[in-house]
Symmetry: C2
Subunit: 408 residues, 2 copies
C-alpha cells in the first residue's frame, strides 16, 4: 500500500479537540488507502514549559537531561493521538523514538539523524496498524534520549517519509501554505501552489517560519515531496518539490523579510591580508551570527568593514570587537552601529536564467524613495538592508513590481 | 559503598522548589557515603491530568497507550531531579524504566515486576554517578512501556532496594510516619518508631494510605527495611521492619478505619453446598470487592449471607445478585442493604501470643454504646463493622482502651 507521512505541529494538537480534528484528517487518508505514519509535536506551549523548568534548574544544564525532560511532551501527544484514532476505528499504535528506533548522534539538544530502522514499523503496517510517532526525538549511541532541536518534528517527519518511501509528507500547521510574502504586510500576498526546494530553503532561512530549514534540506536531498497545509481548513496547501515539477517558470516566487537586523561598520581597519579573518573569527567565537558582509574601497591603507547581524546580538558583537582590539588582533578607528535596519529579500529560481532581476528590484525601491544600505546576492536571491521604517513599503513595492499577486 | 534508595512522592516533587528540597536530602545521604538511587513520582497532579486526558479519548482505552502517556510524568521529574542534583555538585543521571531496564509482564496499567537488570546502573555507581529513576514504569516483553498501577512508585522503590541490596529504602511523603491511628480523628494519635511488615500490610490494606500494599508485600518478601518519613521536616520517620527487630512487644500497634463501607445481607438463601460459591462467584465477576463475609445460623433449610463492600460498589453488587437470580444460579427471598456503615480494625502482632484482645475491643465499644454489626478476625487483626455515625467515637475509644497514646 502507498505510504503517507502526516505531521501535526503543536497548535494542531494543542488540546483533545484539536487532536480529534487532526485524527479525522488521518482517517480520511487511511480511508483513501494509505498506510499512514503520523508524526506529532508536543501540545502547544508544552515544550516551552519543560524548557523553562530545565533552565530554572541550572544555567549550564546537562543536555542529556534536557533531552530526557523535553522529549516527554511528544510522548503524551503520540499516545493520545493513537487512542483517538483507535476510537475512530483506525488501528494505530504509538512509537517513541527509542522504540522505532530512530538513531541519532550524541549531540544532545540538536542531534543529527543517523538512521531509522523501519523494520518493526513496517511489520506493523503489514498487520494493518498505522503508526503514531513522537517527533523531535531519537536514541543516542549510548542508549539515551536525544532531541533534534526546536522545530525538529518537521525533520523527523521528512526523515520518516524518506525512510518509508512515502508518497508525500504532509506538514499540517496553522497557516494554509507558503505565501508570496507575509500576508500581514500586504493583502495582495498569494498562496503558492508549488515552490522549489531551493526557494523554500532560502525563504525558510530568511525568516519565513513555516518549516524548519533542516527539514527542507533533508527533503531536497532525499526528494521527499512536502506539502505545507492547515489543519484548520480544507483547502489544498503548498507543495514543496523539485523545480522540474514546477511548470511555469517564475522569476521571483516570494519576498522574505527579517525585521530586527543591525548594521555594524568597523571604521578604519588596516587594509591588509588576515584582517577579515581576525574580525569575523572574533565575532564567531563571540557567538554572533553574522549575515551580510561588505568591504568598502580602501583609502590611505585603511578600509571600512560592514556586516549585519540580529539586533539582539549587537552587545555581544561590541564585546567581541573590543576584546579583539584589546588583544592587539584587530585595529580600527571607530565603530558605527545602526540598530534600525531590516532585511528584505526576493527569492526565485527563475533568476538563474533571467538577467536584470536585481535591477528591477533596485528600481522599484528607488521609485518609492527607499535607500539601500547593503546588498548581497546569491544564485536565486537578492537581499538588501534598508531602514526599518521602510520595511512594509519595500515589501509592498517589490510584491507589485514582480506582479506576485498574479501568481498561483 | 553502602546503597540507599530514596523515594519521593508527588507532593515532595510538586514544583522546582520542592525538587530542590528533596535534592538537598539526597545530597545529605550522598555526603554520608551512600550510593543513592532516587526513585521519583510525577509532580503532584500530573498523573491525574494525564489519566484524565486518556479517559476523555475513549471509555475502553488501550492500556498500552494509557501507559505510554501516563508514564511521561515520572520522566520529567527524573530529569529535573538529576539536573538539580548536578547543580548541587552531586553527579547524577536519570534512568527511565526501559533504560535500566526494569522488566515487567504485559499487564498494562497494573504490571508486575519480573526482573531488574542492575548491571548498567551499578556500573555507573562505580563511576560515582548516582541514579535518579523514574518510578511507576517498566518495560514489557514486547518492548512497550508498562506502569505498575497507582502508587506504583513505592513498589518501584522497594524493588530497586531489593535488587541493589540497599541498606534501607526511605519513602519520603507528606506525613512524617505511620501513626497509631488517623491524627485527624484523635489528637492522641502517636507516631510509631517501628512497625512490623505484617502490621503495616494490614494497616495499608485497611485504608491507611501511607504506602501501596504491594510495596509492603515486596519489602516483607525481600526483607527490605523501609522508612516512611516526611520530606518537609527533619524528624525521624517510622521504620517498617521484621518483627524480630522490634524490641518491646505491643498487643495493638494501630487502629485503622475505612469510612465508606456497605453491609449487604442476602436473605433466605437455600442452605446447601455451592450456594456461597454461586453468590461470591457472581459478585467477583461483577467486579465487586467483597471484604467481610458472615453466614448466619440456618433455619428451615434457609440461611442469610452477609458481606461488606465499598459503598460505591453497591449498584454493581445489586446487578450481579439480580442477574444470578435471573439465571437460576442463586435463590433468595430478600436483600437488605445498609449503606451507612464503617469498618474499624485493631492491628498488632502481639495478638498472636496474647488472649482476650478481641474481648477488650468489644468491651470498649460496648462501654460507649457502639453496636457491632459484623466481626472478622485474622491472626493479627480484629475488624468490626459499625454504624458510620459511631466511627470517630469508636476509634477514640479503642485508642484509649489499648493505651496507644503511650506508644512510641
Amino acid at each position: 500500500m502507498p505510504r503517507l507521512v502526516m505531521k501535526f505541529g503543536g497548535t494542531s494538537v494543542a488540546d483533545l479537540d484539536r487532536i480529534r480534528n487532526a485524527a479525522t484528517r488521518v482517517k480520511r487518508e487511511v480511508d483513501r488507502g494509505f498506510d499512514v505514519a503520523v508524526v506529532v509535536s508536543a501540545m502547544a506551549g508544552k515544550t516551552n514549559e519543560l524548557v523553562g523548568w530545565v533552565r530554572q534548574t541550572s544555567l549550564l544544564y546537562d543536555a542529556r537531561e534536557y533531552d530526557a525532560v523535553v522529549s516527554s511532551g511528544e510522548n503524551v501527544t503520540a499516545g493520545l493521538m493513537a487512542l483517538t484514532l483507535q476510537e475512530m476505528g483506525v488501528p494505530a499504535r504509538s512509537w517513541q523514538g527509542w522504540q522505532v528506533p530512530l538513531r541519532t548522534n550524541a549531540s544532545h539538544g540538536s542531534a543529527r539523524i543517523v538512521s531509522i530502522d523501519t523494520e518493526a514499523l513496517e511489520k506493523k503496517f503489514g498487520e494493518g496498524l498505522h503508526a503514531v510517532i513522537a517527533g523531535f526525538q531519537g536514541l543516542s549511541p549510548e542508549g539515551r534520549i536525544t532531541t533534534l532541536g526546536r522545530g525538529g518534528s518537521d525533520t523527523s517527519a521528512v526523515a520518516f517519509a524518506a525512510a518509508l518511501g512515502a508518497e508525500r509528507c504532509d506538514i499540517y500547521t496553522d497557516v494554509d501554505g507558503v505565501y508570496t510574502t507575509d500576508p500581514r504586510i500586504t493583502r495582495k500576498a498569494r498562496k503558492l501552489e508549488r515552490i522549489a526546494y531551493e526557494e523554500m530553503l532560502e525563504l525558510a532561512s530568511l525568516g519565513a517560519k513555516v518549516l524548519q530549514t533542516r527539514s527542507v534540506e533533508l527533503a531536497m536531498r532525499y526528494k521527499v515531496k512536502l506539502q505545507v497545509l492547515s489543519s484548520f481548513s480544507d483547502v489544498p496547501g503548498t507543495i514543496v518539490c523539485d523545480e522540474e515539477e514546477i511548470m511555469e517558470s517564475r522569476v521571483v516566487s516570494g519576498i522574505a523579510h527579517s525585521r530586527d537586523e543591525a548594521k555594524v561598520t568597523v571604521i578604519g581597519v588596516p587594509d591588509r591580508p588576515g584582517i577579515a579573518a581576525a574580525l569575523f573569527g572574533a565575532l564567531a567565537e563571540g557567538g554572533v551570527n553574522v549575515d551580510m558582509i561588505v568591504q568598502n574601497i580602501s583609502a590611505d591603507g585603511r578600509t571600512d568593514m560592514t556586516f549585519s547581524c540580529p539586533v539582539d546580538e549587537v552587545p555581544r558583537a561590541r564585546v567581541a570587537i573590543d576584546a579583539a582590539k584589546a588583544s592587539g588582533a584587530l585595529d580600527f578607528t571607530g565603530l558605527d552601529v545602526d540598530e534600525d535596519v531590516s532585511k528584505v529579500s526576493i527569492v526565485g529560481i527563475g533568476m538563474r536564467s533571467q538577467t536584470g532581476v536585481a535591477h528591477r528590484m533596485f528600481q522599484a525601491l528607488a521609485r518609492d524613495g527607499v535607500n539601500i544600505k547593503v546588498i548581497t546576492t546569491s544564485e536565486i536571491k537578492v537581499s538588501v538592508l534598508i531602514d526599518r521604517k521602510y520595511l512594509e513599503l519595500a515589501v509592498q513595492a517589490l510584491h507589485d513590481a514582480f506582479e506576485l499577486e498574479k501568481i498561483s
